[in-house]
């Protein structure tokens, strides 16, 4: 398998709740243009394109048909990826596979979401309707309350069970969720590409009402419009096309578990905070990357947290610390931008959630930190050699993990 590096990243100029000045394809085009501008490459140098978004949120389908010319895909192989929240990382992994396999040398990955083009009804038509059918096929009734609707707050309601289970296992207090939320929102305030950019205190979070106990409005992510593009290349092309300042993808892993982890389909995993699929995905990625002790070897992490407790929970599941330790490290300031192990210096998915991009922005932020190309004050002051990116989604049960490094793997 060949070494593969991220050679450049491009974001839309802003990530906001409503981009009313562009269509979806025009917004994707902004990200594609940005990555070409940042790398100096042209579309002629791209061999293949992979694109991803959360398929039904805007009630548009077949983007490989109508978005292709906006992302430089005309006349090239194009593939569309959709794995829910993890879509972004799966899209980048797919681009990675294209190059690692030796079939292509330079591949463009583009992800987007334009939530504002849909509204609650469109979301219902596109997402909830098929879920009602999934649930009916599994003997659960969304409408009368014994399904996801029975959790009172939609996906937040479903995540509430996970948050409670995490609190039980870890010994953390609900105040630790408030604290993580305040940290990430304050980080986002420093990031020009974040959506909710306001320095936030624990008291600000605690002033928001509960949705489903223990989760409050202040513990949940926004819906965002935005797009991200990223170019990956083989080692030979890195030498040919770049100055060598790139971020190498040295380990990838993904795993699904029993969908009952989603809480609303029956199955034999009865703890939504167990997240065995995260451990399996991490183990695979760490083996590939040669990571022996994840608690010591990473300089930063970007974890997927639609809800604020998840940064703490996944730090433990990914082996960044022992079970029950994440909230203690949070208290010590270890996860701050200038801490021992900065977590979500970008503000995380928790502050910016254009879903298709959410899990791709994690490795992209890692890559920019490694390359020293962060625009904004959320730049981590220390040298980043190894970084961990994580994605979570599917139907709550799917995890993806990527290890990035400032140096390529030695050829075996």
């Amino acid at each position: 398998m060949r070494n593969v590096a991220i050679i450049g990243v491009g974001y839309t100029p802003v990530f906001v709740s409503k981009r009313i000045d562009v269509s979806i394809a025009e917004m994707a085009n902004e990200a594609a243009n940005a990555v070409f501008r940042n790398t100096g490459l042209t579309i002629d140098q791209i061999d293949a394109v992979v694109q991803g978004n959360m398929q039904p949120f805007e009630c548009v389908n077949l983007p490989y048909l109508w978005a292709s010319e906006h992302i430089g895909a005309v006349g090239k192989p194009v593939m569309r990826i959709a794995t829910g929240g993890t879509t972004g990382m799966t899209t980048l992994m797919c681009a990675y596979y294209h190059v690692a396999s030796g079939l292509y040398d330079v591949v463009l990955a583009v992800t987007w979401e334009k939530h504002s083009d849909g509204d609650a009804q469109v979301g219902l038509a596109g997402i909830v309707t098929p879920e009602i059918f999934t649930m009916v096929m599994h003997g659960l009734d969304l409408i009368t309350g014994r399904g996801m609707g029975g959790t009172s707050g939609g996906s937040t309601g479903a995540a509430a069970y996970q948050a409670l289970s995490y609190l039980h296992h870890s010994g953390a207090d609900p105040e630790h969720i408030d604290k993580m939320a305040a940290l990430e929102r304050s980080n986002a305030a420093l990031n020009p590409y974040a959506h909710l950019r306001k320095k936030t205190t624990v008291e600000d979070i605690q002033a928001t009402p509960f949705i489903s106990w223990p989760l409050r409005y202040g513990h949940t992510c926004p819906t965002t419009d935005g797009a991200t593009a990223c170019i990956v290349a083989s080692e030979e092309k890195v030498k040919e096309l770049t100055d060598g300042n790139v971020a190498w993808i040295i380990g990838v892993g993904s795993c699904t578990s029993d969908p009952c982890t989603a809480n609303f389909i029956e199955g034999q995993i009865t703890d939504p905070a167990e997240q065995e699929s995260c451990r399996i995905a991490a183990k695979k990625a760490y083996e590939m990357a040669g990571i022996e002790d994840p608690s010591k070897e990473f300089d930063m992490a970007e974890l997927y947290d639609g809800f604020a407790h998840q940064s703490l929970m996944y730090a433990e599941k990914l082996g960044l610390c022992k079970e029950g330790e994440a909230h203690k490290l949070l208290d010590k300031g270890a996860f701050n931008i200038d801490g021992e192990l900065p977590i979500n210096a970008s503000g995380g998915v928790f502050s910016t959630n254009a879903i298709g991009t959410s899990a791709m922005n994690r490795p992209c932020e890692c890559a920019l930190q490694i390359m020293g190309k962060i625009e904004g004050e959320h730049k981590i002051p220390k040298k980043i050699k190894k970084a961990l990116a994580h994605g979570w989604g599917g139907l709550f049960q799917y995890n993806s993990v990527m290890v990035l490094s400032d140096t390529p793997k030695k050829s075996s």
């Binding site: 802003v14 409503k18 609650a120 009734d141 707050g153 489903s212 106990w213 809480n263 609303f264 029956e266």
Partner: protein, 153 residues
């Protein structure tokens, strides 16, 4: 970025009625037939012996064929949340009184059932409470025949 007032939105109406014909599968049909008789039907793996509700054909762990079994209507609260909102036509709105929603492991089963728990103060709810199923007076073979769970004495 442009000012919202400068932009005209295009309202799009989709001129169609949507009719879906979903086959839920035989285990779920049997589950609903059980509901009509105030019975909770599950399925048991012929390989590993695990029991899940609602029932299904295939065991996700052992990949064994599953057979229908009736399960106990009393169980243990394994996880819960307190709902402060409800969703009406896709929009969240606050509820007057918070609702206790729980994940219940019925005795002898290896999966969880999500249901409302009534008759327990949200401040008193905790993992491990023993609960039992309460049925609608006249069940009709529908999911909501199993109305809610209450504390088992």
């Amino acid at each position: 970025m442009v000012n919202q007032s400068e932009v005209e939105f295009v309202e799009t109406i989709v001129p169609m009625d949507f009719n879906y014909n979903i086959r839920a599968g035989k285990p779920i049909e049997d589950y609903l037939r059980g509901m009509a008789q105030k019975k909770i039907m599950g399925s048991k793996c012929t390989k590993c012996g695990k029991v899940v509700i609602p029932p299904r054909n295939v065991c996700g762990v052992a990949c064994g064929k599953m057979e229908m079994v009736e399960v106990d209507q009393t169980g243990t609260l394994q996880n819960y949340t307190i709902g402060h909102v409800k969703i009406t036509k896709g929009l969240m709105e606050p509820v007057e009184e918070p609702v206790v929603l729980g994940m219940i492991q019925l005795d002898g089963t290896n999966s969880l059932l999500v249901s409302e728990i009534r008759g327990v103060d949200p401040k008193q709810v905790k993992k491990g409470l023993r609960v039992k199923a309460v049925w609608k007076e006249s069940p009709e073979g529908k999911f909501d025949d199993l109305a809610y769970f209450e504390l088992a004495s």
